[in-house]
Amino acid sequence: MASDMKGHNGKAGETNDEILHDHNRDGVDRRGFLKCMAWAGTGAFCVMQGGVLKSYSMSRIAEMNPDEMKGELSFVQISDSHMGFNKAANPDVAATLKAAVDKINALSTPPEFLLHTGDVSHLSKPEEFDGVAEILKGASAKDVFYVPGEHDVLNDDGKEYLERFGKGAQAGGWYSFEKKGVHFVGMVNVMNLKAGGLGTLGNEQLEWLEKDVKHLKSSTPIVVFAHIPLWTVYPDWGWGTADSAQALGYLKKFGSVTVLNGHIHQTMQKVEGNVTFHTACSTAFPQPKPGEAPSPGPMKVPAEQLRSVLGITDVNYVRGQHALAVVDSTLA
């Protein structure tokens, strides 16, 4: 096991902090992909302009014109609040979630709504779900759209989660909605996991997705959000979804697809053809870079550094641009 991880370690190191610019404008079927990986605590602002991705480190955000950040639609992604977790990596996850809310309320462009990409709770307990919902009531944006993480469906096939956050969703918890011409799809890839496997969407959900997007014009911007990454980040740690390729296959006709995930407690970004993949920070505790620890368990950092490795993701949609601008900011 250890030697196996060492092998992958080198692979992860190759792409670490790498920002590749692809000036190719040929769009959808481009084989080469562009990577912009921002590890926990560093953060990057990425904007696609005419097929060229521009990325800036968070340290330069202050120098930028705030008007560049404005668009037709702005929302915030938060993830992995793990309410109920109380170990050394973060003994007070409620406090850091409240800090995330403060950060949201301080944004110069108020978001229209929040997306929570799962692991709302740590142990699927009613009081953990309710604790998060209560704290998020303090956010300027009142609507919160959730998808479950594996920690939210530990008992009874996710009954407690679905009772609270699954209203209006399909029986399995997945759903879609429209906001200002952008089509959002909330997906569930944490149920019925098989021994040795990765995240799974399952046939029922895939069939639903195919029908859900069939009638949409190819110019409709698509945002897919789910807990476990819908791209293979690091299979040895289960950081991927076995049948995500099939889901992405149904989205091939669209010019702009943004995939937002959580689960890995660090930011990472990849652009492949028409699809931009992004993972968000946790509001609770960081996890190690792929293969750089014996396991993906909580990473302990000195208390004074904790908030610099937690964060929120601010997403801006500007009509006419190829992709949504995604900005990560830490809670520090």
Binding site: M1, F85, K87, A88, A89, H122, L123, S124, E150, H151, L154, N155, L193, K194, A195, G196, G197, L198, P235, D236, W237, G238, P294, S295, P296, G297, P298
Partner: protein, 115 residues
């Protein structure tokens, strides 16, 4: 003469063992013949494969900061969610191989071999 008495003694001895086995089987309902431990550390089961005798009770202990489960791939046993330091035990009464995994982190797999 000597050989004959030895044979008798041996037969008596065997009878004694058989009687002891019966009484042992009766008490196995409450108390397993032996125990074995599997530790959960760093998102893995240790040892990954464990070989035990029929009647052994295997106890899993979660020593991670993250909850895990112990679920038989063939639905023979299934723990509730084990938070840090929580335990789950199962007594294996039939020989065979019992693959299992963590239903939250399915990359975590293990096996109990009962002989």
């Amino acid at each position: 003469m000597c050989i004959g008495s030895l044979a008798v003694a041996a037969l008596m001895g065997l009878g004694g063992i058989a009687a002891e086995r019966r009484s042992f089987a009766a008490s196995a309902q409450e108390k397993p013949a032996s125990t074995a431990e599997v530790k959960i550390d760093n998102f893995s089961f240790g040892p990954t494969a464990i070989t035990v005798a029929v009647g052994t009770s295997v106890t899993w202990t979660n020593r991670d900061d993250i909850p895990h489960t112990v679920v038989s791939t063939e639905k023979v046993f299934k723990s509730k969610v084990l938070d840090t330091d929580e335990k789950f035990s199962f007594t294996f009464t039939k020989p065979g191989e019992y693959p299992y995994f963590c239903s939250i982190h399915p990359k975590m797999t293990g096996k109990v071999i009962v002989q």
